[in-house]
Amino acid sequence: MTGLFNYIPRQSPIHAMTGAAKLVCMLTWTMAAMITFDTRYLLLLTLSALVLFRVSGIKFREVKVLIAFSAVFMVLNNVLIYLFAPEYGVELYGARTELVHFIGRYGITAQQLLYHANVILKYTVTIPMVLLFVSTTQPSEFAASLNRIGVSYRIAYSVSLALRYIPDILKEYHDISQAQQARGVELTSKENLFKRLKNASAILLPLILSSLERIEVVSTAMELRCFGKRSKRTWYRAQAFAAGDYAIMAAGGALVCISFLLIYLNGGRLWNPFV
């Protein structure tokens, strides 16, 4: 389960902050990036994100699975935009500066390039922040944080429970799949796709049944220990807010304000160097 959604313990100022403050900061940061199309601002945020990453002491190779995953999406996203709307940038910026022409409506324009740069920057602004949040926050503190920003504790706890049982269920999937392969269920490319899907059900059914059994045990165990007794609960892992936490939440809020300010200054969400 390493490399996916997991906490990487380090000694860093970012690790020391409370989960709730980091969650607020991440959400406002993402919001700021979503609002604006100002390339300069996005560039600045990307650089800041990389600096924060550096501060946290998390290495890129430790989160490479998620980076690769989002990189695939980013590339796919750009390819699709280009294929379906090669002139979208031209439309958006109201100018056309063609650099290279390929064939038909496909060519490279400065406006389209800038638009793609914006799209890429949106990924590079948000992904490092999400990774940073995930890898510097203990999952159970994450649940406590959700609860703190107003999510019901029953829902918040289910996040923590999912994280607790995902490794168990993966291991179980692995065991079941081995035993079924031994009975002759073929899951490799030796079999055609339809047969493979059909065969996969031979693993899913026992997995679902045993997961249901597990859920029954967990919910019984939780009930026997008073989960759901009161309308609120406290958290072993929750941390009290410190000055730094207020500061980063304020900073997050400021970033959103800057986005709005830029809309006002640029006369729209776009920063347009072409007019």
């Binding site: 065991d175 081995q178 002759g184 220990r225």
Partner: protein, 569 residues
């Protein structure tokens, strides 16, 4: 007189979904500070009784109760499950399932969190409780970094932190190896002495629980309390054999030797048992009169492992130079603690994992080139939990599945499946849905589903885990009948009774190596191997020593041979 914590009077209970009551006319009182063992075969109502005590009945499992059940003088029907859980703390059987928190600290804190205990106080209480069960060094550990015994201690801490008056243990020994189980019984005893709480232990492994004294044994059967007696009296009353509970082995041995056991001999534990010189002589005479059974004729090896080395991706070196033979037609056991390498070895044999070094040969043929599927045609593997194997809704289809996947013509499938179902005693149920049969029968279905492929070797992971004596005997006699038909059976287990009674030979794994390969009787009488493999010496060994028999291994062997003869009749 100490306070009456729990009091059943003329209590009965019937689940809404069932046609007849599960509990009849229960009268039982638990006083503060008492330690009670509740025993009985599967289906006797002991789990239902436990659910009534901890409040899961009627809050989770609705039904109709008659008579009265009070907890600290209050009728439970006027309480809710949260009130009850402040008095009764429950440790469930499933060690992983009940571990709710992501780490030890959080799991212990769970009940406090739900009670809105402020964090400072919560942390202090968690630490104190963790210290009492000696798990304080592991507060930040995740469950997969803990052993079974440690997980159980965390569960105990999780209810101790709430200062309950009654500890309820649901089959605490089911998932532990023998030595860890012995330690668990010691810890339960310690906790009871420290906290002064009442302890209720639901367990059918009588001998193991009696490693530490209990005040009373409540024997249940068919929804009623059959006996509620001090251990010494219960053990002499002949109740156990009558109701499908295994009596302690040393008592069986004394019976065979013709010694009459009476309560004043303190028979509840081999440690306290008093035997007169005359009685010891009787045991010695029995030992000498038994003729040792001839050792089975050596058979050629069918599976040979030579110098197998295997290391997991995470660097865990699970097998270190394993060399062993499995002989044709053998019924043998592979034993050892969790992580000793026994399961990894079976995975390597089945081809689930590829060893980094070493060779495996089957009938002299190197297996390196064989796929999982090809190996499975000759080596069958049965998982511990049948629910993890069953993928079809009906018994016939489940057993036919492997043959159909192999493209066997349908009329041959029908013939072979029916033949296998007959062998397994499932033929009358062939058209039943799998969900309609009991756990033990499901286990048989999974064995049938493997057997139908006609493997030469059958490997079973913990074939009798979680089964009471009756079902254990059923499953094991079934495996023995397969063995008698010439199938080689390998059982991976940490059940010592199973090993002793059924395995002719046991291979002991420890730390990725084989540390012993001998008859089960010899292994369970060698203290050094027992200690290294987390086993426990059989009480027969102590009995042999106590009676001055110089060759305890031989005594144990003769006992098993004789016992088999007696039970075979």
């Amino acid at each position: 007189m100490p306070e009456e914590l729990i009091k059943f009077s003329h209590f009965g209970f019937q689940y809404n979904a069932q046609a007849a009551p599960t509990l009849y006319d229960i009268d039982l009182t638990v006083h503060a500070g008492e330690k009670i063992l509740i025993a009985g075969p599967s289906g006797c109502g002991k789990s239902t009784l436990a659910h009534c005590i901890n409040g899961l009945i009627p809050f989770n499992y609705p039904g109709t109760a008659t008579g009265s059940l009070t907890i600290r003088g209050k009728e439970t029907r006027e309480m809710n499950i949260f009130d009850i859980s402040k008095v009764v703390g429950t440790v469930l059987q499933d060690l992983d399932g009940q571990f709710i928190g992501l780490t030890v600290g959080e799991d212990i804190a769970f009940a406090l969190e739900n009670d809105e205990v402020p964090q400072d106080e919560m942390r202090r209480r968690v630490r104190e409780t963790a210290e009492r069960v000696t798990i304080a060094d592991h507060l930040d550990h995740a469950p997969d970094e803990l052993s079974g015994g440690q997980k159980q201690r965390v569960s105990m801490a999780g209810i101790m932190v709430d200062d309950v008056d009654v500890f309820l243990f649901d089959e605490p020994l089911a998932n532990l190896d023998p030595a860890t189980g012995k330690r668990a019984i010691e810890i339960i005893d310690q906790i009871q002495k420290d906290t002064g709480a009442a302890v209720l232990i639901i367990e059918h492994r009588l001998e193991d629980v009696l490693w530490r004294d209990v005040d009373r044994i409540v024997l249940m059967g068919e929804g009623r309390i059959l006996a509620d007696l001090a251990p010494d009296e219960l053990l002499c009353g002949g109740y156990l054999a009558e109701h499908g509970i295994r009596e302690p082995l040393y008592l069986t041995a004394l019976r065979y030797a013709g010694v009459t056991v009476t309560p004043d001999m303190l028979p509840h534990s081999i440690r306290t048992l008093r035997l007169s010189e005359a009685q010891k002589r009787q045991v010695r005479a029995w030992h000498q009169a038994q003729r040792p059974a001839p050792p089975p004729a050596p058979q050629p090896p069918v599976l040979q492992a030579r110098d197998i080395d295997f290391c997991y991706d995470n660097g865990f070196h699970a097998l270190k130079g394993i060399t062993t033979d499995i002989h044709r037609g053998e019924l043998m056991a592979i034993v050892g603690t969790n992580g000793a390498g026994k399961s990894t070895f079976s995975k390597v044999v089945c081809g689930f994992e590829k060893p980094q070094r070493g060779t495996l040969t089957l009938d002299g043929q190197d297996m390196a080139g064989l796929s999982i599927k090809e190996r499975a045609d000759r080596i069958g593997y049965v998982m511990q939990n049948p629910n993890q194997m069953i993928s079809k809704a009906f018994i016939f289809d489940e057993v036919a599945f492997g043959l159909r996947l192999r493209g066997v013509p349908e009329d041959e499938v029908k013939a072979r499946v029916e033949e296998t179902l007959r062998i397994c005693g499932l033929y009358p149920m062939r058209n039943w849905p799998v969900s309609a049969v009991s756990y033990g029968q499901k286990k048989r279905v999974t064995i049938a589903a493997i057997l139908v492929l006609e493997p030469q070797i059958l490997i079973l992971d913990e074939p009798t885990a979680g089964q009471d004596f009756k079902h254990y005997t059923e499953i094991m006699e079934f495996l023995r009948s397969l063995h008698d038909q010439g199938i080689t059976v390998v059982m991976i287990t940490h059940d010592m009774h199973l090993m002793l009674e059924y395995a002719q030979r046991a291979v002991v794994f420890s730390g990725g190596q084989i540390i012993a390969d001998d008859t089960s009787a010899n292994i369970l009488t060698s203290p050094d191997i027992i200690a290294r493999a987390n086993l426990k010496e059989t009480s027969l060994y102590d009995l042999a020593l106590c009676c001055g028999i110089g060759e305890p291994g031989a005594f144990v062997q003769r006992f098993i041979d004789h016992d088999r003869e007696v039970r075979g009749q």
